[in-house]
Point group: D2
Chain length 377, copies 4
């Protein structure tokens, strides 16, 4: 099987996201890193791309150059990853989709709901793959959880409870550190801080596992460090279309929590629990029965969990390979095997609608608001 050709925009030297995507794309040998516009400083980006092994003529100085350069090639890249600052995702993703490229966009896909709806329309018109990097959903045990829910193994889902709460922004003496401060500054981060950063991963996860969509929500935001304009702690209650009750807590001041992403799903006949720091186990309790530990790689898992397990049971796989799983699905999708587990533009705009809805609710003392983008109402 010939390798697919892959290009990246953003993710320059010193970024954390760049190596994560390069590892994800290349780990399973399905993509060849063929083109890149890795830095907003043209020379820096071209130089770094070449040091990473990209040919000089495909080491671009800007995403516009890359768009021009690649669209005319016979051997154009099969997939473009957009890993630039958040505010630029919309413009770049749109341009590449319109030019007929498959795109993987980092989250958040856009800054506004309107932009998000535009991406959905453009993606649909293009006929291309437009994925959003909700990579946690690609952990094998999350795929297992979703498959169990779909198969009715825990009955109708009554309740989903999730949190994505860490403590890495909990030091007030470090709050002016630019690496931290921007996140709580509306000029740079948009309408929401912690909820837009981490909360939407949890919200997507709830929808993903429950196989349902968030319909309405009520939010309580707090800036526990007073100098912050945007929230560093948020609680969002929600209801899904099918009636499932949801509870989502996200915080960046929860000192002692490290990654802090977990999810619990409670149905009529069973419950599930997963924790991102030990992602290879899934707890399952049938109603009236004992808690069981489901292990990545064990016999009898659902297909979508099984195929994403690279090494045998109890050999842990971690976050970078969850990203790699997104690329596995992308490779399949590009080659024509649809992967309905792949987070897509609709997921992207739903997140944005939830962010704006939560902000609006919080401003109205927790009034319940519609959480759906207009196009999906």
């Amino acid at each position: 099987m010939t390798k697919l050709k892959w290009g990246m925009i953003g993710g320059g030297e010193g970024s954390q996201i760049g190596p994560a995507h390069r590892l994800g794309a290349q780990a399973d040998g399905q993509f060849e890193f063929a083109a890149g516009a890795l830095d907003h400083r043209p020379d820096v980006g071209r130089d770094y791309a070449q040091r990473l092994g990209i040919a000089a003529d495909r080491a671009y100085g800007s995403w516009q150059d890359m768009l021009e350069g690649e669209r005319g090639r016979e051997d154009r890249v099969d997939l473009v990853t957009v890993a630039t600052p958040n505010a630029t995702h919309f413009e770049i993703t749109k341009a590449f989709l319109e030019a007929g490229f498959n795109v993987l966009c980092e989250k958040p896909m856009t800054m506004s709901v309107e932009e998000g709806e535009e991406i959905v329309r453009v993606a649909e018109a293009s006929g291309k793959v437009c994925a959003v990097n909700y990579c946690y959903s690609a952990y094998p045990m999350i795929r297992q959880a979703r498959a169990m829910v779909r198969a009715g193994e825990i009955g109708k889902v009554r309740l989903v409870v999730t949190s994505f709460s860490h403590g890495h922004h909990g030091d007030a003496t470090d709050a002016d550190n630019p690496r931290v401060r921007w996140r709580y500054d509306p000029q740079m981060a948009g309408v929401s801080g912690q909820f837009a950063d981490c909360g939407i991963h949890a919200l997507h996860m709830a929808s993903f596992i429950c196989d349902d969509e968030v319909a309405r929500l009520s939010a309580d935001f707090a800036s526990t460090i007073p100098s912050r304009v945007l929230e560093d702690d948020a609680m969002v209650n929600f209801r899904m279309t099918g009636g499932t009750v949801g509870r989502l807590w996200t915080s960046s001041v929860a000192i002692g929590r490290q990654h802090g992403f977990d999810i619990q799903v409670f149905g009529e006949t069973g419950g599930l629990k997963w924790f991102s720091e030990h992602p290879n186990q899934l707890e399952y309790t049938p109603v009236g029965g004992r808690k069981q530990i489901i292990e990545k790689g064990e016999g009898g898992l659902h297909e979508d969990a099984m195929r994403l397990s690279r090494v045998s049971i109890a050999h842990p796989e971690g976050f970078p390979l969850a990203v790699a799983n997104i690329y596995c699905d992308l490779a399949d999708a590009i080659r024509g095997e649809a992967r309905d587990s792949l987070p897509n533009a609709a997921d992207g705009v739903r997140s944005m609608a939830a962010v704006h809805g939560a902000v609006s609710s919080a401003q109205q003392d927790g009034a319940w608001v519609d959480a759906r983008p207009p196009m999906f109402r």
Copy 2:
């Protein structure tokens, strides 16, 4: 040291609460079980009391008989425990306080806020000890957590997050079981189901550790099993007087959770975490530092934790001895050594105000309401 004399109302044969109190009162040899009105059926109660070793003349057929019998004795009981059905707590507690007895009342102390305020007044006028059995607060590591907060070891508390969520009422096919059903029936349980049952333990714990009071709250209630009138799942956001943000989730349909009571406290310079199923460990993380495991019985604990540890480090102590710790504090208080950690009537009425506030908020789609009893506004 002469043993104190102890009497019990309710807690008859086959109840779970009776043995818990008898073990708690007698474990450390400070109380002698001297009198009882253990059952609403006079003969049954008298017989059972005598089988438990109580003298015939102090084995009463009703709490009224016990009140009459004991008030006239030279060797009257030093402490009366009220462990009758919830709706009777107010009347009995009030009567015994007015007659000059020290009382330990099971939670909830009353059904209404007005009754709760009445108990506060009566208790104050009596000069007697009136305690409420929020026994989780008597675990040594909870006392340690409170002492750490008081000593400023985690700085000003920004955020407290607690849950008391189990799955033992999650089986819809068992929902008509009378042992379960009454809890969700307003005729029997009052205005609230799960929040009044378990949530108020968590709410008290938040106040207890943070050494602060809940000022206002917003609630989202759900009856995830449709036949239930009262909620089986609730989320309550709150603010404390000092500004601390609070998040409390309580559920009885969280299948796979057993006891399911935990609390996390996040301050300016550190975080704490405790889990009731492994109550002998307390996690502590200083800001910027590593998580540490504090063990019951280790050297250097705060006094209020140290004195309640009976066996050496890492020999676990469990729930019945947390109840016993309440009795230790009661013995001290009765003998004149004030124990400000002992949950009291003010705690009892605050819980009731929070229950009624949460019900009111939930009925108004989560509107923020005052959570304080009028007497403390």
Copy 3:
């Protein structure tokens, strides 16, 4: 049901073992603390006993006085607990058995195998209960494990692996502390240090759960703190009569381990795991299946686990109530309901034979030796 009368020898003021036994005996209201010789200093012991509520005429100055005083009484104590220094257990236990008392002896029951065999013979001749306080075996989940093995739920046991390793004697700068030093001094501790102190609990547990006896063993002892004559770390491999392979590690220099007692049992069709610091859970994995968490108090446990659970599922019970469980079984046994789970004199002498066998093996570079007392060969 009339309370049984209970007396104690040793366990004076300031000891840890005294309160543990008093709580254990009194927690469930089956025993009344009626007599005691609590200290080797007659006046001190008599005074302390009276402060604990014992009548003056039964507050004895020595065990000999107590033997004389009690044997002539109509209302003599039903049970004597021997909690004196190790070297005196034999003499006292023997004397009270011969006088027709039921005895609970602290471990080790004796210092030599010969003494142990003597106790077995005396106990048998007396017709009285002679129990040894291997109290860990009385945790409900250990009773469950034993019952599962007996019921064939994990098939024939192939392998048992246990450790009782803590780090509380790991500080060389504290090694001369008398509270620590005596344990490694043959003049005071006998032939073995850590193995005789903690290892025999683990060895008893292996026999108890597997329902089999240790037949032969090979030991490797080390004094990792060089000033110690006796071992502070030991590994013992063994074989049971039925062929089960055993591995036992015990250490007092394992810094970071607190209580550190765990056991794993592997049979033909399943495996079990238990950890003393979280004693209310038992892990069970059927061959080819998933790990399950068995909880104290859950429905469907074996009878011997069920009856020793005082509070409902997931309310933890700890070490002091494991001791109390020994007293529950003693009360039953004294009243005529045989409890074959109660550790007895045969267990006591088997432990002593294992200690002497291990010492002998370690001195011979790990040569395999017979671990059985001569009387059971």
Copy 4:
């Protein structure tokens, strides 16, 4: 930086080890997969190599062809990975070293001690890198543990206790499955079963972290499934050159354990604990202090741990990236930056000497034997 060229021998289609190495070599973009002899069936291997993207002229039918083909090229591979059946490791590794290639050999490096010593000599004479794939030692937290020991942070190491015990060969009804059976058949597996398969990983780890070598040992082997000739359970006690006491348990019938590899290291001033199923945490307890959780990626780790962490704190990394870390070190070493953490031929022969020593000891009822290869005595 130009990518290094990498070739592989063995690891054909359907093997588990092949993908693990390909991911490991390519994850960080340092190696280009340039050549391979992937199967003992020439056509199958050539075909598979080309499907994996290798040029036709470097898709070899045998390792001998690859040796001939590559040695004459200007652009010969910089590294050859040997992942063939165990019995062939010696011959292939030796041939490639003699031809001037750098080699990564799967464990066990050889079947005999003599062969192992030969590889050490050949590797030294060649001046090339000869590494052995003890990949667990490349987990960041293991590197941290070793660095802490080297820096004296736990003082002189007194004791190391490790186990690598799983239950995946515990089903007697599956024992004749060829995939399982060969491991216990001396015709195919050599002198040892489980100890040679998993035990030597644990033994290497002990040496690696303690920065010391195993000097002598005593072994107890058991075949708990009677049809097995070789051991499926083993306990090995050992002493290191510096006096450290060692305890190693390995089993394949420990039903309920999944991966089951852990290690505990106890020094004069602290203890460490690590568990392969949650490899991103390292427990550290200073003597007299509290247990601390060290997290992969936290600030202030030792350099050798820091540089092998790809994603930020609490984003888990797993087994495949531990293999990738070996390749990171190999890339550095090939480029001239010596990596003394890289397991090498001396480690390979030491393992083999320990295997043969343990077999000999077990045959002599646990007699202590020299565990060192003659060349290192």
